[in-house]
């Protein structure tokens, strides 16, 4: 039964675990370093060193994650990624130019994560910010945070947080809190916590009561990111449920973990 026209029995490509682990460790170490060691330095002006560490740790970690994940993705997940990235940039750019307090730049990432799983979501998030960096360099250092959002969104989808429309905002709230914590040191050490007019007002309010820059940025991140991800997750849930059955059928992740309630259930079994 070996015709040149057929493929051999499937052996699913596995992610390169070592690369993924090193990437994740690098990101975690960078974050811990920034939070634990640096706050003292900020009073004398931001050190170039901490900016460098932020840039290399988060970008390098993101690159390793992508390198580890990409070979394991199916073609249908792969095709979805550019689409998610284009949606992120198109919508994020619009929201940014409108001066909103929220960013809305993760709709594509979360959509890919829900349809194709956490790995595809993480890779989409990281690459999205890397590519956006070509048009808006300020997005570049947030790549690791974006990857984390994709990873968590996919995990939430896998464990049924999208099976009910009212659960999605809850998941968004939690993921947003984590995302805000991770993004805060980047905002503080790379950009002195400057952002859009909306986010700045928040930072200014926290600074006015005497918070340090990192603490103010963290509080601002916790506020904006939770609201942002709450909105994003809700929108993605509405979008996913509006999809026709046939477009949902192309994503094995949706079937295997019964991500969405109702008609896509694994009626056909294995």
């Amino acid at each position: 039964m070996s015709s040149p026209l057929t493929l051999p029995a499937t052996k699913a490509a596995r992610p390169r675990t070592a690369l993924v682990a090193v990437g994740a460790a690098l990101i975690a170490a960078t974050y811990l370093y920034l939070v634990l060691v640096q706050p003292a330095e900020i009073a004398e002006g931001i050190g170039g060193t901490s900016s460098l560490i932020t840039l290399f740790g988060f970008l390098g970690g993101g690159a390793l994650l992508v390198a580890g994940i990409l070979p394991s993705l199916s073609t249908s997940s792969l095709v979805l990624m550019p689409l998610g990235i284009a949606l992120n940039i198109a919508i994020g750019q619009t929201a940014g130019s409108l001066g909103l307090q929220i960013y809305l730049d993760a709709i594509g990432t979360v959509l890919v994560a829900v349809l194709a799983g956490p790995a595809a979501g993480a890779a989409t998030g990281a690459l999205s910010n890397a590519i956006w960096g070509l048009f808006n360099p300020l997005a570049l250092p947030f790549a690791a945070g974006a990857a984390l959002i994709g990873l968590l969104a996919g995990t939430a989808a896998r464990y049924g947080m999208f099976r009910r429309v009212y659960l999605a905002p809850v998941a968004g709230l939690l993921v947003g809190a984590v995302g805000g914590l991770v993004a805060a040191p980047v905002a503080a050490f790379m950009f002195g916590a400057a952002g859009t007019v909306g986010t700045n007002a928040l930072v200014a309010a926290f600074r006015a009561v005497g918070d340090s820059l990192l603490v103010a940025a963290t509080k601002q991140g916790l506020t904006s990111d939770t609201i942002d991800k709450l909105v994003v997750f809700t929108l993605v849930a509405l979008l996913a449920y509006a999809l026709p059955r046939r477009s949902r059928a192309q994503f094995p992740f949706l079937r295997r973990y019964r991500v969405l309630a109702g008609r896509t259930g694994s009626a056909t079994g294995r």
């Binding site: 170039g48 073609t75 990624m81 689409l83 300020l138 007019v197 700045n200 006015a208 509405l238």
Partner: protein, 251 residues
Amino acid sequence: MPRRRVFNPLTELLAAALLVVLVLVVNTWQFSLAVLVAAVVPGVLLSGKPRQIALAIAVTAGPLLLSSFLLHGLFFPEGTTVLAEWGPARVTAEGLQFAALTGLRLAVFTGVLLTAALTVSIPELVSTLTHRGWNRRLVFVVGSAVGLLPHVAERARRITRAQQARGLVVGGSVPSRVRGLLMVSVPLVTGLLIDAAERTQLLEARGFSSPGPRTSYLPDTDTAGQRTARWLLAAGVLGFACAWYAVGAGR
């Protein structure tokens, strides 16, 4: 008018990235200012589209600079030299200095990277990555994402018009805005996903999963000299950074 290309996109992007690293390593306002005046400004002027790039830089970095000055100029609790005070807001010398340093660095960061990115020809970059044997999946995601961007924007515009023709009025209350957003994004995302399903089949049929290296239709504009230069540049900046920190100037 596209300028005459001197170097391969990969070389230019790497040079820009290394310049940013240098600025962060040296970390003095004098050096940042020097890079801004000696590298970014001529780069923009010689780019062949100075107005477009200047506008992009202004749009990206401008609001950030402004808000940075407002934020740190008015609220900098660590500051001791108070120049003026209104209620909770205090203008401090340290705050202004902090804002200037951060702002200058931001300006260099966006200026250098945007000038490089906006003059780079993406097809040439994608082709170079292919010729250099980068992972074809990564090259596809980058190339396809950049290629989809104008397509997505154009499609969103057409859908908005179609929905207006059947009664969507843009603006108004928050619920009606949300409904408007959904009216545009549902057909947009659904259409893109249906296309993606067909593109999946297309990629498989066109042999995208084939083993071995991909080739590119576009000629290779990279040269052995530039490849060597890239390694040398990277090594040079690394060496400089080590030396800088070893001498202790980085404190």
